[in-house]
């Protein structure tokens, strides 16, 4: 169809197959395919020759070798005697940690700022606009470096941590949280919690059925909240509180024990959250503005209260507009977390595509694995959000 039928008149005298758009298309495609194949073969041959000349090993055997370096934050068991494959898992889990936390925080902040931009309050709207216009137009990398610097200046030194209630301590090595110690019987609490969540879901379904059948409103939210909180709490108390905390305590040079949140993690989270929130705010604003005014007026005419208008009429319709670009922002945040390499947070790019690549020199394998992970994450997020999107679209109907 590319150049379909454009040259048809010429074929009156002698049908020249060269002018047939179909033939042309096929020839062009074969040429393209041959070109791409030739490019890849050329690259493969050159790479093989170069690797041989530089004496660089190939294959994924390096993953089994011992890494020999330490990593400041590990969510999975790791020591300097672990293998490169374990370095990969440490990097991946650290990336996921910052991505998940960042997505949650940025969504909350983004919605708040987006709603503030639409606020009736002139000052709040201007404030939110100013925030968005400043943050969106400054490179994320610059913001990350600046936050990292600010944190290192603001946080107290390792010897004089700032002590907060509940055993929380803060110094320039990070935020120290008490580590929970699960004692026997805590499993029962978890089971009770799961049962509570199941109960809450059941209450939600029951309340909806009742509303559809009889029109009676049930305060389902409060019932569900009670169902989630009460069972685990009761079991917890009945078993005599089977949980204790290991508070961080002062070691010789630094605090020891507890869970540590690195300042690098905090800087990365702060930067990613504030940056992405500005974009999410714009998405939320345009989504809500996309709901026709008549919808709000009709809802108000039906006698719904302002918050009911928002919750039952505006937000469900706005979500349909918001979700696709929101997905993109989640993906952007995940990919932007790779900027961690600039402030030495041990994420996938920093420890794997950085340190491991430098140690092994196996650039091709390391970069391909790293890119593969991000591609996989992108795909996974896209699938999840598509599923959620489909659900929202159904709910709306």
């Amino acid at each position: 169809m590319a150049s379909a039928g454009t040259e048809g008149t010429r074929s009156k005298l002698s049908y020249d197959w060269l002018y047939d758009p179909k033939t042309r298309g096929i020839i062009f495609q074969i040429a393209l395919l041959a070109g791409v194949a030739a490019l890849f073969i050329e690259i493969a041959l050159n790479t093989a020759a170069n690797l041989k000349a530089q004496n660089i090993a190939t294959g994924f055997g390096f993953l089994e070798r011992t890494s020999g370096f330490d990593i400041a934050q590990t969510l999975v068991p790791y020591s300097s005697t672990s293998t490169y494959a374990q370095v990969f898992w440490v990097g991946l889990t650290n990336t996921l940690l910052v991505a998940v936390l960042g997505i949650v925080l940025a969504t909350i902040l983004g919605f708040v700022i987006g709603l503030a931009r639409l606020s009736d309050n002139w000052l709040a709207a201007r404030l939110a606009t100013t925030y968005v216009e400043i943050v969106r137009n400054v490179p994320l990398l610059l913001q990350l470096l600046a936050w990292y610097f600010v944190l290192l200046v603001v946080l107290p030194s390792g010897q004089n941590p700032l002590r907060l209630p509940f055993g929380i301590a803060i110094n320039d090595r990070g935020i120290y949280l008490p580590a929970p110690i699960w004692e026997p019987g805590f499993g029962a609490v978890l089971i009770a919690a799961i049962a509570g969540i199941a109960g809450a879901v059941a209450i939600g379904i029951w309340a909806k059925r009742k509303r559809l059948a009889t029109g009676q409103q049930v305060p389902a939210f409060w019932y569900a909240l009670a169902a989630i909180v009460a069972p685990p709490l009761l079991v917890f108390l009945a078993l005599g509180a089977p949980l204790s905390f290991a508070d961080p305590h002062q070691g010789r040079f630094n605090l020891e024990g507890g869970i540590v949140l690195l300042p690098e993690l905090l800087a990365l989270l702060l930067g990613l959250t504030l940056y992405t929130a500005a974009f999410i705010a714009e998405i939320v604003r345009s989504g809500i503005q996309a709901v026709p005014r008549g919808q709000k007026e009709a809802a108000a005419a039906l006698g719904l209260r302002p918050w009911q208008v928002q919750r039952l009429v505006v937000i469900p319709q706005a979500m349909r507009v918001i979700i696709p670009p929101l997905t993109n922002q989640f993906l952007n945040l995940t990919k932007n977390s790779s900027l961690a390499v600039a402030i030495a947070y041990p994420d996938l790019v920093s420890v794997f595509a950085g340190t491991v690549l430098n140690q092994t020199n196996q650039a091709v394998e390391v970069i391909l694995i790293t890119m593969g992970v991000y591609l996989g994450l992108s795909l996974l997020t896209a699938l999840l959000m598509n599923w959620f999107n489909a659900r929202m679209a159904l709910v709306e109907r």
Binding site: M1, A2, S3, A4, G5, T6, T9, G25, F28, Q29, L32, L33, V36, I43, N46, T47, A49, N50, L51, A53, S119, D120, N121, W122, L123, A124, L127, E133, I134, R136, N137, V138, P139, L140, L141, L142, Q143, L145, A146, F149, V150, V153, K335, N336, S338, L339, V341, A342, V349, A353, L357, A363, V364, I367, T370, M371, Y374, L375, S378, L379
Partner: protein, 370 residues
């Protein structure tokens, strides 16, 4: 007498008006009042802290970091004034910096009239910018011809390098992005699959990994003995990355063009490229100008990532100066440096987004008239 009265009435009206405005916009309900109070508190905190830092406690004179090294001191401005040349031109030799300035002037001479809608001769300006300027500009800044000394890209840096990466990236990614978008909308399955594969691959990975790939893998891809400049490698990475995003923006525009336009072009007997070049693309690109400018803003901000592979763009050179220059070491050096770099980036990005708004309104009003 009547006049005075009227004046008084007008004055009272203005006061009444502004109190009414205040009541309606800031204190309409108790909730609104709380929001107002919180907003005022935030503004007060931020503005007073900023003014304190940037003006009242700031250091304005001095020849090294010791001047800024007093307790409670704010911004260290002499750091910026002393390093201004470095931040703007990098390690480009000082006596040769006029060449960069001349290039800027040549660029502005083409760009400014092009951006003002009233000025005629757009075609010639475009041709100048696309053909004459790149050649002249490259010879000017790189040298090696006409008695200009050669200056290797390794000594390019600062805002100059940022602009080089951004402008070359924009200029290179635009045609590639158009081709990719056309490929994705093509009826030829192999063309479609190749472009989809490329676009989705690039969009699925972070720019950092693309730059890593350009800096460590690209040399391996080339025949032994062939190598090219680090800057060129980064440019290839940035241009390909940006092209994939641009392709998706342009595809949105292509999809918005009614089928009738394609069919009419076919019926007129236009070839594929005539159809796209004269009928479809002019309409499609106009539709997605805001998206294109957003891509360019993103690209401009992304240029700062080249510091990760060891190029010294504006942010790279600021970062190097605040971390590695012991002469200027002081508690506020880094903050001042980052602030300065942030302001420069902001001016460019904000300027671009304003211009895009202006263009959008202008084009929209053209639609309304017709």
């Amino acid at each position: 007498m009547a006049q005075t009265n009227q004046g008084l009435m007008g004055g009272r009206g203005a006061v009444e008006q502004s109190t009414r405005w205040l009541r309606e916009n800031l204190f309409s309900s108790w909730r609104n009042t709380i929001v107002t109070v919180i907003s005022v508190a935030i503004i007060w905190m931020v503005v007073s802290a900023f003014l304190n830092w940037a003006l009242f406690t700031a250091v304005f004179t001095g020849s090294d970091g010791s001047a800024c090294n007093k307790p409670g001191a704010g911004a260290c401005w002499p750091f910026i004034t002393h390093k201004f040349g470095l931040f703007m031109y990098g390690r480009y030799p000082e006596p040769e910096r006029w060449r960069i300035n001349l290039t800027y002037i040549l660029a502005l001479a083409g760009l400014v009239p092009l951006m003002i809608p009233r000025v005629p001769g757009k075609l010639w300006l475009t041709l100048y910018l696309l053909i004459v300027f790149p050649i002249v500009g490259f010879i000017l800044v790189s040298g090696g011809l006409f008695g200009l000394s050669h200056i290797p890209t390794a000594s390019w840096g600062g805002l100059f390098l940022t602009l080089v990466v951004a402008i070359v990236g924009i200029a290179a990614s635009f045609p590639i992005g158009i081709l990719l978008a056309l490929g994705r909308r093509s009826n030829l399955p192999i063309v479609r699959w190749v472009t989809i594969g490329f676009i989705e691959f690039v969009r699925g990975v972070p720019l950092v990994t693309v730059l890593f790939m350009a800096s460590v893998m690209l040399p391996l891809f080339l025949p032994p003995g062939v190598s090219f400049d680090k800057l060129l490698r980064a440019l290839i990475g940035v241009a390909l990355f940006s092209a994939a995003y641009l392709a998706e923006v342009i595809r949105g525009g292509l999809q918005a063009i009614p089928r009738g336009q394609f069919e009419a072009a076919d019926a007129l007997g236009l070839s594929y490229w005539q159809k796209m070049g004269f009928i479809v693309l002019p309409q499609a690109l106009k539709l997605v100008i805001p998206g294109i400018v957003n891509s360019f803003i993103a690209l401009f901000k992304d240029t700062s990532l080249v510091l990760i592979i060891g190029l010294f763009d504006l942010l790279g050179i600021v970062q190097q100066s605040v971390t590695a220059d012991s002469k200027w070491f002081s508690p506020q050096t880094a903050a001042t440096g980052y602030f300065f770099a942030g302001v420069i980036f902001w001016i460019f990005c904000f300027g671009m987004s304003r211009y895009s708004n202006f263009l959008e309104h202008r084009l929209a009003s053209g639609d309304r008239r017709s």
